[in-house]
Symmetry: C2
C-alpha cells in the first residue's frame, strides 16, 4: 500500500491508526471489526482500504511504528552516560516512561507477542532492542562492573523484570513510571552487582 499522500491524507491515516490502536487495546484485535473502526470515526469503509491494504497491515504498521519509537527513546536516553550500568538503568527508565505514555501500545504489544501470527513478525524489532541491552551488559562485564555470566541470559532477565513490572504496575495499577523504574532498577542492580541499594522502594 504505497500511496502518495497529501497533508490531509497523512492526517487521516494518523487518525485511523490512533483510533484503531485504542480500539484494539480496549476490545482486542480480533473482536474489533473494520466496520466498527470506520463507524467509530464516522467515515466510509473505502477510507480504511484507501490507506491500508488490510486490517492486518494496519496492525503491523501500528506495531512497527511503536517499536521504532520506543527504541528511539531508549537509545537517546541511554546515550549520555559513560558507565554501562548507568546506561542500562537509563534504558529501563526510558522504557517505563515510554510504556506509561503509551499504555494502549503496551497492551497491543502484549497481544501481538502472544499471537501465533503476529508474534514472529515482532521478532526483528525485539532482537534489535535486545542487542542494544546486551551490548551494555557485555561492556559492563568486560569492565568488571558486573560479574561474568551469559550476557544473553542476563539481558533477558533484565527485560523480564522490566516488562513484567511494567505490565503489573503501569498497565494494571497506573503507578508512576519513575517509581516502577526504581523498583525494576533496584531488583536488577542487586542482581547484577551483588549489593543492596540504599533506600527502600517507594512503590505502593
Amino acid at each position: 500500500m504505497d500511496r502518495r499522500l497529501t497533508q490531509r491524507g497523512k492526517e487521516r491515516k494518523r487518525q485511523l491508526m490512533d483510533f484503531a490502536a485504542t480500539r484494539f487495546a480496549e476490545s482486542g484485535y480480533h473482536p474489533t471489526s473494520v466496520a466498527e473502526i470506520v463507524e467509530g470515526m464516522g467515515v466510509g469503509k473505502g477510507v480504511f482500504y484507501w490507506y491500508f491494504a488490510s486490517k492486518e497491515e494496519l496492525l503491523l504498521e501500528i506495531l512497527r511504528e511503536a517499536q521504532l519509537d520506543m527504541r528511539r527513546r531508549q537509545q537517546s536516553e541511554m546515550g549520555d552516560s559513560t558507565d554501562p550500568v548507568d546506561r542500562l538503568e537509563s534504558g529501563i527508565r526510558a522504557t517505563m516512561y515510554w510504556l506509561a505514555e503509551h499504555r494502549d501500545l503496551m497492551s497491543l504489544f502484549e497481544f501481538a507477542q502472544a499471537d501465533e501470527h503476529f508474534g514472529p513478525l515482532l521478532r526483528p524489532g525485539r532482537d534489535n532492542s535486545m542487542s542494544d541491552v546486551m551490548r551494555h551488559v557485555q561492556e559492563a562485564m568486560v569492565a568488571g562492573r558486573v560479574p561474568n555470566g551469559d550476557p544473553f541470559v542476563v539481558s533477558h532477565a533484565i527485560i523480564g523484570v522490566t516488562n513484567h513490572l511494567a505490565r503489573v504496575f503501569i498497565l494494571g495499577r497506573e503507578e508512576p513510571a519513575e517509581d516502577v523504574a526504581q523498583a525494576a532498577i533496584m531488583f536488577c542492580r542487586s542482581g547484577l552487582l551483588g549489593q543492596r541499594g540504599g533506600t527502600g522502594c517507594r512503590l505502593r
Copy 2:
C-alpha cells in the same frame, strides 16, 4: 454445563480439551474454529456442544484446569524445605518443569493473559500463585535472609524473571528446564541476597 458423564463421556471430554488446547496453541484461539476442532477429531458438532456450552467455556475450562495443576505442582514442590529462599527456588524450578512439560498450555496462558476478555478471568488464579510466592518472600525478609523491601514488588520481579526466561528459553528455544531454572534462580538470588552464586550459567 453440568452434565452427568459416564466414563466414556469423561474420556471424550478429555480428548476434546487436549485436542483443542494444541490447536489453540498452534493457530491461536480466535483463528481456530469449532468446526476445525470437531473435524480434526472426526466427530460431529453435536459432540462439542454436548460437553461445552460454548467455545469460550472450553477455553476457560482448559485454563482453569491448567492453573490448578500448575499451582498444585508448585505447592507440592515448595513444601519440603525449611528455608524460605530454598522454597522460592523450588517454586521457580517447579514452574520451569511444569511449563516445559506443558508448552501448549504455556502459550495458551500467554494468549489469555494478553486478551482483553480472558485476561481478567485469569486473575483469581494468578493472585493465588502470587500470594504463595509472596508468603515466602515475606518470611525470608522477617527471617533476615533477604533485605527488607516491598514483598509484593519483589515477588513480581521474581515472577517476571521466571516467566520471561521460560517464554524465551523454554517456549522459544526448547532448552532444558533445569538449565533455565538455574539461570532464573541465579539472577533472582543475586537480586535477593546480594551475593553472586558460584558456578557459571550453563544455558547456551
